[in-house]
Symmetry: C2
Subunit: 418 residues, 2 copies
């Protein structure tokens, strides 16, 4: 007891140690956009952190190289093949064979003088997409391992004790609201694999009726939890680059993604991410038929209460009872925000929570806000606007174009990342 | 990590897993009072705790029986033989041979209807004395194991996390006063052997210049710390029963103990326990020559500040500079009390601290106040008065007699335990 492992070995030890939505998106990409050239790019949104001071170049390289050699074992393939939570035999045999034989494409790694890491993943969309959460998990764990190494043994114990105490407070608060259901969405921002494993296992043991799943496919498999996840900005952004001949085509790419998704998965995975080009646009773009059929919406930026109220109005405008719909909140949650949102919407619209950083990296050390986002698709720049321009991405001119195309009027923050 | 062991095995695994003063007293007893018949008795001073509810009879019996089979291994004998912290070759070969071949005498165990445990250790003083801390460590650990068993895995994690956080606060506070030196005196009241081991190891790593030793002989051996300890009430009380022919003889038994001790160990272990019959008597009874020669005093009941002030006046009355003397405080310490006492006496008299329950059993669960005390010696009842009558022991009539003999006037509490 009290021997927090200083595991300096391989961080990603299974191709399943990624978010489940990589598989759901991965299959759609494999089926429809297999060879589209894309470029994912790593970016650290955390101010004042020089990652090159904590993450050694050689270690990062070795960890990334190790991912390229990962292959599924028989059990892992059985697990994916047997996945039926959302659709009978949801992963086709051709897709499973493709994934089983996949070697991740090469990456481009450089350390910049300003202390930031330049890490790009160019390649065919169907292959390079899997780098996303692996890269984030790796940089995170290396960054925190470096901090663990600076600590005395007892300082490490104290760190994990703080983590346990904070986890205990979360549990105590959530226990009072047995109707609150949540999912671990913390793979990408986790302190470490072992800590995520511990947190998820503990939540399952302590709040078995509230912790409904995890986005981490490997943990879902190991712990017998439901693998959770739908789709990411990546899908919309990929189509933005593919349908790029005119403003109108770009505009129509958003609904194309919704149609593609429904065609692939139907009702089972019909949770639409709303903020890629701003929620106002999303509500203008989603058709009545889609609003009726789709299970619900995912919120990932902007004020969650305002979003929920807008969603209720959106459904009511079509005469749809919001109580039949579900919102998945997943933006910067902590336990108090979860309770506040739950109480606000109780009885008005269904809510659930995808809990990330604050669930899997809350030990008192500053967590990192890392992202791996699509930078280019099909030779064109991509754009994400979101409901918080602080999260916006894309070349300035392209962002301005997208704001015009999507009628984006949000001015809450002018910070453009690229 | 985060797997606090639910070790259900043997609690005392070595004859050295006892307080070091058992050896220092043990050798004197072996040399001078070997065959004196005595009776030690176990008592739980904690109000409202029915030990028979948590400590299963069979488990307690098995743990005690296991102690009777313990023998030193070669290393342990080497360790005792090599002890020279206080005196060159302080343990004689005959004593070491005696201890090496010792099987602890039989015990008398009964569970009372009122929920208390009746546990007596009759026998030759030189043999039965070693039961004292073993019995307390065992009852404690069984009591807390029972509570661990009722917990979920995460509740156990949370408990140990609480313990780590409390330990961290102690360390943070003590780090600000690098002159404060302390010793682990927590064997008898420890939460468990493993927890004591953890706390002592951590204190050594974090405060290497302040944590000067441990009273636990096994931990001292394993962790390379100085084994600490001098003498207990047991020595005075044993002589009370041996020198029992008249009031005057009883009165003189107190100084006899001091003379015996000096004769055996000289300056090295010359810390006198002051409160057996009240500190006022002690100061009247200690001779000027003894006051000059002895290293210092141990405080174990009553107000520590008042005691220290009285000790300073005591030395000054003989023209002795108190700065050349040492007080070992060992009564119910916590970190704030330690700091308060240190600051109060800084530069006036040397102080150090024997830190017990609050060091080795501070995880948020109620610790037990267990004692194993001499009830009879040489066929006579024994008495302890102390500076807190709540800690007094002995048959009421004998206590009254002792109060008269020793001129005891303290009325702060009238509670008599036996």
């Amino acid at each position: 007891m009290f021997k927090p492992a200083l595991r300096d070995g391989q961080i990603i030890r299974s191709p399943l140690d990624i978010d489940f939505y990589k598989f759901t998106m991965g299959q759609l990409i494999f089926n429809k956009y297999r060879d589209v050239p894309v470029r994912f790019v790593f970016h650290n949104r955390t101010k004042g952190i020089r990652l090159t001071d904590t993450v050694a170049f050689e270690e990062l390289r070795d960890q990334l190289d190790a991912c390229r050699k990962l292959r599924c074992n028989i059990t892992e393939m059985h697990y994916l093949r047997g996945t039926n939570e959302y659709q009978e035999r949801m992963f086709s045999e051709p897709y499973l064979e493709f994934f089983n034989s996949l070697a991740l494409p090469e990456y481009e790694l450089q350390y910049r003088d300003d202390g930031s890491i330049s890490l790009d993943f160019p390649g065919a969309w169907s292959k390079t997409t899997y780098w996303e959460t692996m890269a984030m998990s790796i940089v995170n764990e290396l960054h925190f391992r470096a901090q663990l190494r600076e600590m005395t043994r007892f300082e490490r114990d104290r760190l994990f004790a703080e983590g346990v105490m904070r986890l205990d407070q979360k549990i105590a608060k959530l226990r009072k609201y047995p109707e609150i259901k949540f999912t671990d969405f913390g793979t990408r921002r986790r302190f470490s694999f072992l800590w995520q494993n511990y947190v998820v296992q503990t939540m399952k043991a302590e709040l078995p009726n509230q912790m409904v799943g995890t986005s981490n496919t490997l943990l879902a498999m190991r712990l017998g939890l439901t693998p959770m996840g739908t789709s990411a900005h990546e899908m919309y952004m990929g189509l933005y680059g593919i349908m790029h001949d005119s403003d109108e085509q770009i505009r129509s790419s958003h609904n194309k993604m919704l149609r593609d998704w429904w065609e692939q998965y139907g009702f089972g995975l019909s949770i639409a991410l709303t903020d890629t080009y701003g929620t106002s646009f999303f509500f203008r773009d989603m058709l009545e038929e889609q609003a009726r059929k789709w299970k619900g919406l995912r919120h990932d930026s902007g004020d969650p209460i305002e979003f929920g109220e807008a969603a209720i109005r959106f459904y009511q405008a079509f005469g749809i009872d919001p109580k039949t719909k579900l919102i998945v909140f997943s933006d910067g949650l902590d336990v108090d925000t979860i309770i506040k949102i739950y109480l606000h919407f109780a009885g008005r619209i269904q809510v659930t929570f995808g809990w990330g950083t604050n669930l899997t990296n809350d030990l008192g050390l500053q967590p990192l806000s890392l992202v791996v986002k699509l930078l280019e698709s099909n030779g064109n720049p991509t754009v994400k606007l979101s409901d918080n321009l602080g999260k916006a991405m894309g070349p300035v001119a392209e962002v301005e174009r997208a704001k015009r195309i999507f009628g984006y009027t949000n001015t809450q923050s002018q910070q453009i990342v690229y």
